[in-house]
Symmetry: C2
Subunit: 122 residues, 2 copies
Amino acid sequence: MKKDEKLEELCDVNDVHRHLVDSVSMDMPEEEILYDLAELFKVFGDTTRIKILYTLFEAEMCVCDIAEILNMTQSAISHQLKILKNAKLVKSRRDGKQIIYALDDEHVGSIIKMGMEHIEER
Amino acid sequence: MKKDEKLEELCDVNDVHRHLVDSVSMDMPEEEILYDLAELFKVFGDTTRIKILYTLFEAEMCVCDIAEILNMTQSAISHQLKILKNAKLVKSRRDGKQIIYALDDEHVGSIIKMGMEHIEER
DNA sequence: TAAACATATGAACAATCATTCATATGTTTG
DNA sequence: CAAACATATGAATGATTGTTCATATGTTTA
């Protein structure tokens, strides 16, 4: 049949692949969601921020304490805390001259834990 | 007492903070572990790689299919697949001319799911 | 074995990013 | 209110990274 031959030409390989392409397109989340998701993981993708999160996992803390613990500049820590705060992973409150930072989401622990499990088992 | 006054000078704020600093240093994982962890999340921190993982969540697939689904260059996909493979998130096998890629770890789903939950609730 | 096909890869480039430095904002204390 | 303290922030810079382009590697088929 000529019609099927033409169809064969149009497809890269065969119909199985074509159907696969269609079904995946269905279940793929919206572009914006995927962007936000990648953006979130990007926040976890930095050693300094991971260390800050680990630190706050222990207790809420002011900026200068975190800087001292990580042996880094106050400025560097402040910049990273802002990123963590924008990602809603950390919250802050003022206490006198200090700004106290704390974890803002119970998912922080779960996500880090999952990551740990993965890297530990190879 | 003179001794305590001197101690007060040495401390940034007070002893409570000092003790905090010590205890956190105790529970902080080794530098190398923290680096690997950040490196892992960095892999999730890119839209293209997130899309690839979502795609493979549906079914194992060859490079050209993924490229077609994501409407991207074969080269770009291949480069990203290499990164995913290095992170042990994806595995590959040859099938004739094609290389079939598939998810290599059950944590991929869990990690993405956790991320999704976080961005969905604010 | 030559041509076609599927994938991998290195170099180059633009874009993104973490840190530093200098300085601004905001709070307390004397 | 001025000085000291804690934090935030903008600009600059070096480093990292995703994509493209050209090409190499490896497999099948005619």
